[in-house]
């Protein structure tokens, strides 16, 4: 690793960590969401350095472009009650710290193991001019074309189900249909009912 790439890596990594801390400490949920966007961007940068350019761009396009925008909309529209969200922070802190510590220890164990050190050793360097977008595409559209199509069908089911389960035509909306108004006949407006005469007592 050259000095320059170490510098870039450190920059990405530091901003990523800072943004991640920002996500959980920011008081305003919109700020937290924006910090998450920043974290995604830096993660994408790290992937780019690992020559995983397809994943990197997909992360920016899908998560930053679509998922986070949706998050922001939800946060802004739902008007989250902040005071209630912060309730019980101190109560749950010991448990959270415990779980966090456990994860740190696990990660240290994995990183310090022998298998981890020899992980990248057997891999041939990527051919110059090679593109993993192309490689992924070739695999996805040839060997895995059948599962790929099936995944597409599942998405179609999701769309149909979501619309079938949520679309409601509002009965109380006060819209007028001019053509019906024009075609109305006297008989539609008033109905004459034959009744037996009743005597007043």
């Amino acid at each position: 690793m050259t000095d320059f790439s170490v510098l870039i890596f450190s920059a990405f990594a530091l901003v990523l960590l800072g943004a991640a801390v920002g996500v959980i400490t920011a008081r305003n949920p919109v700020h937290a969401a924006l910090f998450l966007v920043l974290a995604f961007f830096n993660g994408a940068g790290l992937w780019m350095m690992l020559e995983a350019e397809f994943l990197s761009i997909a992360l920016v396009l899908v998560y930053v472009g679509a998922v986070m925008v949706l998050f922001l909309f939800v946060v802004m529209m739902l008007n989250v009650d902040l005071a209630r969200l912060r309730e019980g922070f101190w109560k749950h802190l010991p448990l959270g710290l415990g779980v966090g510590l456990l994860m740190v220890v696990e990660m240290l164990l994995v990183v310090s193991s022998k298998q981890f050190a020899s992980l990248g050793a057997g891999m041939a360097p990527a051919a110059p001019g090679g593109s993993n977008t192309r490689e992924l595409g070739l695999l996805l559209y040839t060997d895995y074309v059948y599962p790929f199509e099936l995944a597409a069908v599942i998405l179609l089911v999701a769309i149909v189900a979501a619309i079938a389960l949520t679309l409601r035509r509002r009965k109380d909306s006060k819209h007028l249909d001019p053509s019906q108004q024009v075609r109305v006949k006297a008989a539609d407006r008033i109905r004459i009912v034959a009744m037996r005469a009743e005597k007043d007592r």
Partner: protein, 483 residues
């Protein structure tokens, strides 16, 4: 890089079904409410053509395509045909029920066809990934179907329960499959079987994965101890959907068992055999005993399903070709009986009234001798009394278990069937010996009368001459699994 077009001939039925359902989805948008019958007719037509393509493409040997991910063998073709016929009957039986309950919508038919596609994908899967995708396609469509009656609280509750538990089961299954992948290094089922047979895979990881796979499978089939969703979902869903859930997806679950346990994990037969014995024993006990206490007909049939599925597992766990064929025969018989039972509940229901209590069957013979006789045939078949297909189904499964040398299991299964006979015979007693509570006349469409007649006739005829169906099951299992 050139792309060789896969050999598509074996996949024609699936391709046609997908194209047709997309077309129906589009057409339905432009059909006015009063002509909704067209959607129904097109869906039936799509099923007919799919079945025709399936029969025309039949050949006596196994074909595989998409690099071996898709397999088309005689067993797959028979099972797909059963599933298509079952879905067609579901659509026909539920037509008037749906019309009176606001379910006569394009989405109902499209989702049914999606579910059928998932079933067909699962039946033909030869790769873990494809199997899982087919399963999700089926589960998600089923979940949407259950919830389709949005304003019914019980349907929403049932859908929620099914969704959460199905997700949990999928997680278990995937975890097991990932263990198998880790141990054998392949997702292709024949290669997994080869790796296990050669002894190269770590047995500890394999058994660990197997436990999770069996748990996931048991959930899908709805057997103890993963049966909790069955009664609630059967009772909560609209009866038209219950009718579907209790028939075609069971075919897929059977194929799932055969493909995974026999196809991929065949060399581990002694490991999964003992697991299935426990599951089958518990299912038959709990299903039959709990069914006695039910007053709701749909709930009673749900518990009876649990016991039937336990019985079906007996055939699979005997671990022989004859055993698998008997389980397949049992499954086809069960689909017929379940279609008949839930179909009759649909026909006895009317606008704003669900005939889902045992009370509602009282004195049915006085109100409609024809329906009462049909129900009688279905019930004696479910109880396994001779001159019905249910008797031969139980007989063939039991003889396979006897051949496997598990005499105690045969004795136990017969005792459980005797307990089960009680609640089936109680239904017959209610219909023939009690006075009707509900005197309203029963009106039914001609096609319903004819179809339910055919359905019950099939139960009766196959109970007298079961040999053709047994031979068909033997032939398709034999040709598919021997190689």
């Amino acid at each position: 890089m050139t792309f060789a077009t896969p050999y598509l001939a074996p996949v024609y039925p699936e391709i046609f079904l997908l194209t047709a359902l997309s077309a129906i989805l589009m057409l339905d948008l432009f059909i006015s409410e009063s002509k909704r019958f067209l959607t129904y007719a097109y869906s039936q037509l799509a099923l007919l053509v799919t079945a025709a393509l399936l029969v025309m493409g039949a050949s006596g040997h196994a074909l595989s395509t998409f690099g071996g991910m898709f397999i088309d063998d005689p067993m797959a073709r028979t099972l797909k045909l059963v599933a298509i016929v079952a879905v067609s009957f579901v659509m026909a039986y539920s037509r008037t029920y749906n019309q009176s309950r606001g379910l006569f919508r394009g989405e109902f038919y499209v989702l049914l066809l999606f579910a059928l596609l998932g079933i067909m994908v699962m039946i033909s899967a030869n790769h873990f990934l494809v199997l899982y995708l087919g399963l999700e396609l089926l589960s998600l469509s089923m979940c949407a179907l259950i919830a389709l009656q949005r304003d019914s609280a019980s349907a929403s509750e049932a859908a929620m329960k099914y969704f959460v538990l199905a997700a949990l089961a999928s997680g278990l299954l995937l975890y097991g499959l990932s263990m198998l992948y880790g141990a054998t290094g392949s997702l292709f089922m024949p290669m997994v079987a080869n790796a296990i047979a050669s002894g190269a895979a770590d047995p500890a990881i394999l058994v660990f994965g197997l436990v999770f796979v069996v748990a996931g499978l048991a959930f899908k089939l709805g057997v103890v101890p993963f049966h909790m969703w069955v009664p609630d979902v059967y009772e909560g869903s609209p009866t038209a959907v219950t009718l579907f859930i209790s028939t075609a997806p069971k075919v897929a679950a059977f194929a799932f068992f055969i493909r995974l346990l026999v196809g991929a994990l065949g060399p581990m037969v002694s490991d999964w055999q003992s697991m299935l014995v426990i599951v089958a024993v518990l299912s038959m006990l709990l299903g039959n005993v709990t069914a006695i206490a039910q007053t709701n007909l749909k709930r009673m049939l749900a518990y009876s399903t649990i016991s039937h599925m336990g019985f079906l597992l007996l055939g699979i766990l005997s671990g022989s070709l004859a055993g698998y064929a008997s389980a397949m025969f049992y499954m086809v018989a069960y689909v017929m009986m379940s279609l008949g039972a839930f179909g009759l509940i649909l026909m006895l229901s009317r606008d704003g009234f669900e005939a889902d209590q045992l009370e509602d069957l009282k004195g049915l013979n006085k109100r409609s001798p024809w329906y009462a006789f049909m129900m009688l045939l279905v019930m004696i078949s479910m109880a396994g009394i001779p001159v019905s297909v249910g008797f031969f189904a139980k007989l063939s499964v039991l003889s396979a278990v006897l051949d496997a040398g598990m005499t105690w299991l045969v004795v136990y299964a017969v005792m459980m069937s005797l307990i089960g006979a009680f609640y089936y015979l109680r239904v017959i007693k209610l219909m023939y010996m009690d006075e009707p509570v509900d005197e309203s006349p029963l009106v039914a469409e001609t096609d319903h009368r004819v179809l339910i007649g055919l359905n019950a006739l099939a139960i009766l005829v196959l109970g007298i001459v079961p040999q053709p169906l047994i031979d068909l099951c033997m032939a398709s299992i034999g040709q598919s699994l021997r190689g």
